[in-house]
């Protein structure tokens, strides 16, 4: 007889067996496994009381609700904008196109002190751990599998941003925000991302994009643009195909052989 899967044991323990599963349970004794589920529940609650988790969840839910309201407001403003005169639209489009021009792909020498507000174009600054110190990486620096990278960003005065990377194997990674549904508000000063990254064995390059805007950014749409670039043969050099109003800049590192 096939072993009853864990998910179905959970349903039995909660007395919520779906009709489509009832036949699978005929003649099966799950008493020990149900007891184990209940014991695990009790142990979990004893080790991690519910109150702090509930507080964290409520805080996240409040943030999500605020962000959803913000998105609705942006959509409303966009619709109003579409209804304005052609002359006004032309002015706005001209302004946006001008501001969307990519900046030169190089890292300027900047003060990376987190307490200093740094002006200039949005950029990602990568550091590699070498022994007990960090080495700042210039564009096209050769890096290797296993190198530990720490990223910092400067949003260049733009309030919202997304940071994602593309590697030579077509892998796309979201670095900021940490989740697709998290707010895209960026710090006003040069800021380190909370996690370091160990490079994998992807070949050719690692390319870090920072996409910024004056408005909240659609993270999923932005990741889709990076994935679309990943599918192209010139993914190591070409720009992302992004909606107007989004600024992009990238730092490319070369992958060396081990």
């Amino acid at each position: 007889m096939t072993r009853v899967p864990d998910w179905l044991v959970e349903r039995v323990a909660l007395d919520e067996v779906p009709p489509a599963s009832r036949d699978r349970l005929a003649g099966v004794d799950l008493a020990d496994r149900i007891a184990a589920v209940k014991a695990a529940n009790a142990a979990e609650l004893a080790a991690y009381p519910a109150a702090p988790a509930v507080a964290s969840i409520q805080e996240r839910a409040a943030t999500a609700a605020k962000r959803a309201a913000e998105r609705r407001r942006v959509r409303k403003v966009t619709m109003i904008g579409l209804a304005t005169s052609a002359a006004a639209i032309a002015i706005v489009v001209g302004f946006v196109v001008t501001r969307s021009t990519p900046v030169a792909p190089r890292i300027a020498e900047v003060n990376i002190d987190d307490d200093v507000r740094v002006k200039g174009h949005p950029r990602v600054i990568a550091f590699r751990q070498v022994g007990d110190h960090a080495e700042k990486l210039a564009p096209d620096t050769v890096v290797h599998e296993g190198d530990l990278l720490q990223l910092r960003y400067n949003a260049g005065g733009h309030p919202y941003g997304v940071i994602a990377s593309l590697d030579g194997a077509g892998g796309v990674t979201l670095h900021f925000p940490q989740r697709e549904d998290a707010p895209t508000a960026m710090a006003a000063k040069t800021t380190a991302l909370p996690e370091a990254y160990a490079l994998d064995n992807a070949p050719k390059f690692e390319r870090f994009f920072i996409i910024t805007s004056a408005e909240p950014i659609d993270v999923q749409g932005t990741l889709a643009a990076v994935r679309a670039l990943a599918a192209r043969p010139d993914g190591g050099e070409a720009e992302l195909d992004l909606p107007q109003g989004l600024h992009q800049w990238s730092l490319r590192l070369r992958k060396g052989t081990p």
Binding site: R60, E180, D200
Partner: protein
């Protein structure tokens, strides 16, 4: 139940706890549209989707393993194992989100087609077609040079 589900799909405890919070945030955010029928099924489904979203955005490092997706590939077609490992990201990248959910429920959780259909609110034939399409896609990926 939700935490166990997240642990099983994501692996490490810290990430699973964070994902568990996300599950309940989604429940709170969509509470107006939810019914109180079979809450365990709803939580299971939301947890699975939250975890799959995280797996999709996680960097593919060898140490990450992506054991869940590898398992799906292996169960889908053992003969295509090595190719499937290399093609998993491509396999799910452009598929509707619920295709990955269907694959996980059937191939990882061992739900029957009828159980999957009830879980995701589709017909049995619809589920069968999605799985067949996934297998076909795996074979075509395998055939790539």
């Amino acid at each position: 139940m939700v935490l166990r589900r997240c642990r099983k799909l994501l692996g490490d405890d810290h990430t699973a706890r964070d994902a568990m919070h996300d599950v309940f945030v989604q429940v709170l955010s969509h509470s107006d549209a939810l019914t109180d029928q079979a809450p365990s099924s709803l939580l299971f489904r939301i947890a699975t989707n939250v975890c799959l979203n995280r797996l999709r955005t996680r960097r593919r490092r060898p140490e990450d393993g992506d054991a869940l997706l590898v398992e799906i590939a292996e169960r889908t077609d053992p003969a295509a194992r090595s190719a499937a490992r290399a093609a998993l990201d491509t396999l799910f990248r452009n598929e509707p989100a619920d295709t990955a959910l269907i694959a996980v429920l059937h191939l990882h959780d061992q739900m029957t087609l009828e159980e999957v259909a009830a879980e995701v609110g589709m017909s049995v034939s619809g589920v069968r077609k999605r799985l067949a399409k996934l297998r076909t896609k795996l074979h075509s990926l395998e055939a790539r040079p």
